[in-house]
Symmetry: C2
Subunit: 104 residues, 2 copies
DNA sequence: TTAAATATATCGCATGTCCTATACTTGCTG
DNA sequence: CAGCAAGTATAGGACATGCGATATATTTAA
């Protein structure tokens, strides 16, 4: 039916590429690892068809790079990516910070 | 070009309908007022072509109702909407909470 | 009354984010 | 070598979120 509303009444999609950048600002990771970190937080793991297009888009945008290491591709932030994620975090906190404040 | 990345390297769209529900959980408001509250937080005001379809979608979903009062249509959460927004806030904080923690 | 501002609403377009399904590569094991 | 599993990748579909443009009704100002 209207699949994307899981009992929340509203669409809770979004901010995937931002969350990926934020995770990579903590530690470099390969695709599957990133998906599992997101699963820990959101409760469900993004599928391959979700995560790899997002990584490709970020790479094309010059904020992450993927380095092939044997079986896996390890992604990390570029120096531009490091600057970008700082700005993104500021924007994110200004936009949604009080939602978090009010529920601790 | 790739319009939606404003120097953040990633797409910062998303969570509009959630943010609307959250705002309405504080105070009932009409469309323009909601747009201005979002502008205060995000830095730019969502246009009419963004905000009204979102309100319509939330109304169709049964989580908000719009009541015509003179010039404006005042929106408020339905009782289902009030329950939904609580669940949505929990999901949101579990998904993104640590991003706020690390930047206070 | 006419004009301007405010509020609501819709259309078309682009793109990100989700999914399922399919397929390829690599490394390991039998 | 053959087969399997893990990881990577793309195609195609659905939908929310953005925009600009356009339109209408109502209120306020000139």
């Amino acid at each position: 039916m209207h699949g994307t509303r899981g009992g929340y009444g509203c669409d809770m999609r979004g901010m995937l590429s931002f969350q990926i950048m934020w995770l990579l600002s903590k530690k470099e990771m390969h695709g599957e690892e990133i998906a599992e970190e997101i699963a820990k937080r959101r409760g469900s793991k993004p599928k391959a068809g979700t995560i790899y297009p997002a990584l490709k888009s970020l790479e094309e945008n010059g904020v992450i790079t993927g380095e092939k290491k044997g079986k896996t591709v390890v992604y990390s932030l570029t120096s531009e990516g490091k600057r970008s994620v700082k700005r993104a975090v500021i924007y994110f906190c200004r936009s949604f910070g009080e939602i978090f404040e009010g529920s601790s």
